[in-house]
Symmetry: C2
């Protein structure tokens, strides 16, 4: 049984000037990251937003695919979306994982910036930790221009940024989440 969870954070995240903002939920983020989470056998996928009306949107997407018309049309989407739930803030996510696991998960923050406020853990290092440890892990992905420094500074682990083939690092969060999960949990990865 998987002990790896992930969350897509819409607050607190940075805007392009580095200010802390709240971003809007994007429909395809809910889908794509749920499908990636299911593919890499994660336990749950949380969509974190302090805006209550956005929870109605997320729940409508989930319902459409898990009990509504979408379930009949694309049944395998149900398996992915049923992993997904919304939460008002990160503490509620940590509380939910803690209740499910019986202890607090280790928090893994992700970031794309090359200049980060503290030492990072490599993909290989975290991959080894996930394999060897019997603890639960909660991997956080930031929307906008990434997770706020307050999260990067207080997480148990800060994962190194994805490096492509140059210095351009503006992947979509959907693509970045897929690559992170593949590097950490994929059968084909190192």
């Amino acid at each position: 049984m998987s002990r790896v969870y992930c969350a897509l954070v819409h607050h607190p995240v940075r805007d392009k000037a580095g200010q802390t903002v709240t971003t809007a939920v994007t429909n395809l983020d809910v889908h794509d990251i749920a499908r990636s989470a299911r593919t890499y056998d994660l336990a749950r996928y949380y969509v974190v937003s302090p805006i209550e009306v956005q929870h109605v949107l997320v729940q409508r997407i989930i319902d459409h695919w898990t009990t509504g018309a979408g379930r009949k049309r694309i049944p395998e989407r149900h398996e992915a979306l049923s992993l997904c739930q919304s939460a008002l803030d990160l503490q509620l996510v940590i509380d939910d994982v803690t209740t499910r696991e019986g202890k607090r998960p280790r928090i893994v923050a992700t970031a794309a910036r090359s200049t980060l406020p503290r030492e990072v853990t490599t993909f290989a290092g975290l991959r080894g930790l996930l394999r060897e440890s019997d603890e639960a892990f909660l991997i956080l992905f930031g929307t906008g221009h990434g997770l706020a420094d307050s999260i990067l500074e207080t997480a148990d682990v800060l994962l190194e940024p994805i490096v492509g083939a140059g210095d351009y690092n503006h992947l979509s969060v959907r693509a970045a989440a897929a690559i992170v999960l593949d590097r950490l949990l994929g059968a084909g990865a190192a």
Copy 2:
């Protein structure tokens, strides 16, 4: 200079019953795969659709980010979208790459199905080939339920499917393209 190209194919692709169909262009496919292509230093990214009105849509998205209002708001998006162009069919893409490179590229088909019509090349095998060969490569991604068998059968290389942590393989094409490029070209991959 990169000799790796990719194309997102909307025809001929399979529907869930295995019939050959044409899918509609999705806005975020244009963005996300352009950003992934830029991150992994691809030479060009083609959006292939036989529906002429869809080219107007793709061109409008490209223009918005390369010369329009979007360029000012998110300048780094320009670098990604300027790699992108639309094409009516796959032959025109092959012709364009052939003109740019002076010879025909090797065609790499991707697929998610575990049952495939011919032998596959592993990610490690293709990664080595990309490193050692001085040929150009064109990697094809299928929308819908994947590339039609006619493409899988005639491509120079059929890449093995992405395996996650189980037997669920319904990644979005945006996520799958990101993972494929990372496995083949990423600095952090094996």
